[in-house]
């Protein structure tokens, strides 16, 4: 729809059409018409006012607020009156090892999530499509989607009941049964890439699965009928019909995710490791870094620099990935 607006050509004829009809049904002098036309839209603009104001406050003001990354914020002087310091904050930020660690973690985690979620979700969606009982199919779908519905705080409790060092299910029940000693999960950073990836799949695979299943269900059954007549096996049908026909959806979802690769799920990286400092090496991402520097260290310079870094690189990635989507298939582009 956005696309449609931006290529004004598509919308205009419609607008002209209604305008012309309007002229026919509105006899009167020109100025009265113009006045009347403006008046006519006053109620509509009034309707939009609260929403537009909210976006102005919640979204646009903070965008301009990004300039504080170039300031040495001093509350005594007031934020806007604080001194300009140019790129000082960025110099400090990129001198630290943190800048490298958070960038690496953010990109590697999101990259892994994109690939694994895609493979798992498509595989499960194909299996779901095989289920002939509508009721059971719906049941499986709902259950797998359930984790998508709960807050990360609850997820951190669920994870804690498994990983707690003194009372966790793994340390007390599973590992002893396997003859492995207790592991101090919340202080050993090396386990967390696997844990967070697993939690992420558990929470989000169901969502992607629903999306891909909708795409698979939308495939014209005639393709399969024809393939069956030709004696194609189930496996051949999946490879030659299902996968190629859902490729546009896969491409779109993946490129959109790549566009957001610089933003991570704050809850996953903050709540699930329980904000444990010992795990920072493998759990610190840009979002958690910005939060900690701002709320726990009170370092506005550092956090705003990291925030601007994220906003700008993130924006560029969105534009680039959308550009690529447009190249491949205009229909699927966001704009």
């Amino acid at each position: 729809m956005i696309r449609e607006d931006l290529h004004e050509g598509k919308v205009k004829p419609m607008a002209q059409l209604t305008a012309r009809q309007e002229e026919r049904t509105w006899p009167g002098v020109a100025y009265a018409r113009r006045l009347g036309r403006f008046k006519r839209f006053v109620p509509l603009f009034l309707m939009m006012l609260p929403g537009l104001v909210y976006l102005l406050i919640n979204n646009y003001l903070p965008m301009f607020g990004l300039i504080i990354a170039f300031k040495d914020v001093n509350f005594a002087k007031g934020i806007m009156a604080s001194d300009w310091v140019g790129f000082k904050n960025f110099e400090y930020l990129f001198k630290t090892r943190d800048a490298y660690v958070i960038t690496r973690n953010t990109i590697l985690y999101n990259g892994a999530f994109i690939v694994i979620n895609l493979v798992v979700a498509v595989a499960v969606a194909i299996l779901l499509n095989e289920i002939r009982s509508k009721l059971l199919s719906r049941f499986y779908q709902s259950v797998i989607l359930l984790p998508h519905l709960i807050s990360m705080v609850i997820v951190s409790y669920l994870v804690f009941s498994f990983l707690s060092i003194e009372t966790g299910f793994l340390n007390k029940s599973l590992l002893p049964a396997l003859g492995i000693g207790e592991i101090s999960w919340y202080t050993e950073a090396k386990y967390w890439p696997a844990i967070l990836t697993l939690v992420n799949i558990w929470k989000h695979a169901g969502f992607y699965c629903v999306v891909y299943l909708a795409a698979i269900v939308g495939i014209d059954p005639e393709y399969y009928e024809a393939a069956k007549l030709d004696g194609a096996s189930r496996w051949q049908q999946i490879r030659a019909i299902t996968l190629p026909l859902i490729t546009p959806v896969i491409t779109m979802m993946t490129l959109l995710a790549i566009g957001r690769i610089f933003y991570s799920d704050f809850g996953l990286f903050y709540q699930v490791p329980m904000n444990a400092g010992a795990l920072n090496e493998t759990t610190n991402v840009i979002d958690t870094y910005v939060y900690r520097s701002l709320m726990q260290l009170g370092d506005i310079g550092m956090s705003s620099a990291a925030g601007l870094y994220q906003s700008v690189v993130g924006f560029i990635l969105v534009l680039v990935s959308n550009y690529i989507v447009r190249k491949i298939n205009k229909e699927n582009a966001l704009f």
Partner: protein, 295 residues
């Protein structure tokens, strides 16, 4: 051919049953743990098959903790008010944007859309809401920042209005002399229940689950929602007994059964969602599909 098909069916069922179990087991562990005897947990850890059951944790919650009741009230209040206001302003913005005759339609749609591409991030947002609007430690801080309206929902609803409300319906309402507000309220909205339900559902879940606003804007425990309480006691279980110090000291309160109370509060926080889920899962799934296709 037949045999092959049966093979696929079996594989699919086995894999999906395993995945469903994986999705549900953590909840089972949480629920069982909350009903386990404190001593049993200290000895054998959280377990699916505990030695001894007990409702100790829930007794404690009922009798000792007015915090939880208040937090529940905050969550319900914020969810109801937030979702209602959100639906109202989303609809009021989406409807005019769906009208093909409104001036400035394209720039206004872009104004909404651009918020999905670029944002100022945490630092300016936090400073603005705390310094400029003084939202720190107010209930409004749980409702307004970030959650109240989502540009994506506006665009979803606008698409719905454009594709599902026939233009003649709106025209005829006008011919009958209805104003814009009247047309929206008595003609358009009754035809838009599916999209209102979908977005209302998404908003309800977003408000019920939100802990982020409380984490950054609240330091005053009186205003905590249930998610904020959970967040706080994860690292500081004593928070519960401390905040009740007055009543606890006078009643000679029993020792806090901390490992199980934690789980019991988590159960209380997640239970409404789990109980309501079977009734709304259909709309939830449909909503996700609409969002992915139209977005």
């Amino acid at each position: 051919m037949k045999v092959e098909h049966a093979g696929w069916q079996w594989t699919a069922h086995v894999v999906l049953i395993a995945l469903s179990a994986a999705a549900l087991l953590p909840f089972a562990l949480l629920l069982v743990s909350s009903f386990t005897d404190e001593q049993a947990i200290l000895q054998h850890g959280y377990s699916f098959f505990p030695d001894k059951f007990s409702t100790q944790a829930y007794d404690y919650l009922l009798n000792q903790s007015s915090e939880i009741v208040r937090a529940y009230g905050v969550t319900v209040l914020v969810t109801v008010v937030g979702t209602s206001v959100s639906l109202a302003i989303t609809t009021l913005l989406a409807y005019p944007l769906s009208r093909r005759d409104i001036p400035l339609r394209t720039p206004l749609a872009f104004y909404v859309f651009f918020t999905l591409l670029f944002n100022g991030g945490l630092v300016p947002t936090y400073l603005m809401y705390t310094q400029l609007f003084d939202l720190k430690n107010t209930l409004l801080a749980l409702i307004i920042p970030g959650l109240l309206m989502n540009g994506f929902h506006v665009l979803l609803m606008r698409t719905f209005f454009m594709t599902s409300i026939p233009l003649p319906v709106i025209e005829s309402a006008k011919i009958d002399g209805a104003g814009e507000f009247r047309t929206l309220y008595s003609v358009v909205l009754p035809l838009s229940l599916p999209i209102l339900a979908t977005i209302g559902l998404f908003q309800t879940i977003a408000y019920w689950n939100d802990w982020f606003n409380g984490l950054i804007y609240l330091t005053e425990p009186k205003l905590f929602s249930i998610q904020n309480i959970l967040n706080r006691i994860m690292t500081d279980i004593q928070f519960l007994s401390n905040s009740n110090l007055g009543s606890a000291a006078s009643q000679g309160m029993a020792a806090l059964p901390s490992t199980t109370v934690r789980m019991a509060i988590a159960v209380v926080g997640v239970l409404p969602v789990l109980v309501a889920y079977p009734f709304f899962q259909k709309y939830f799934i449909k909503g996700i599909t609409i969002g992915a296709v139209k977005g």
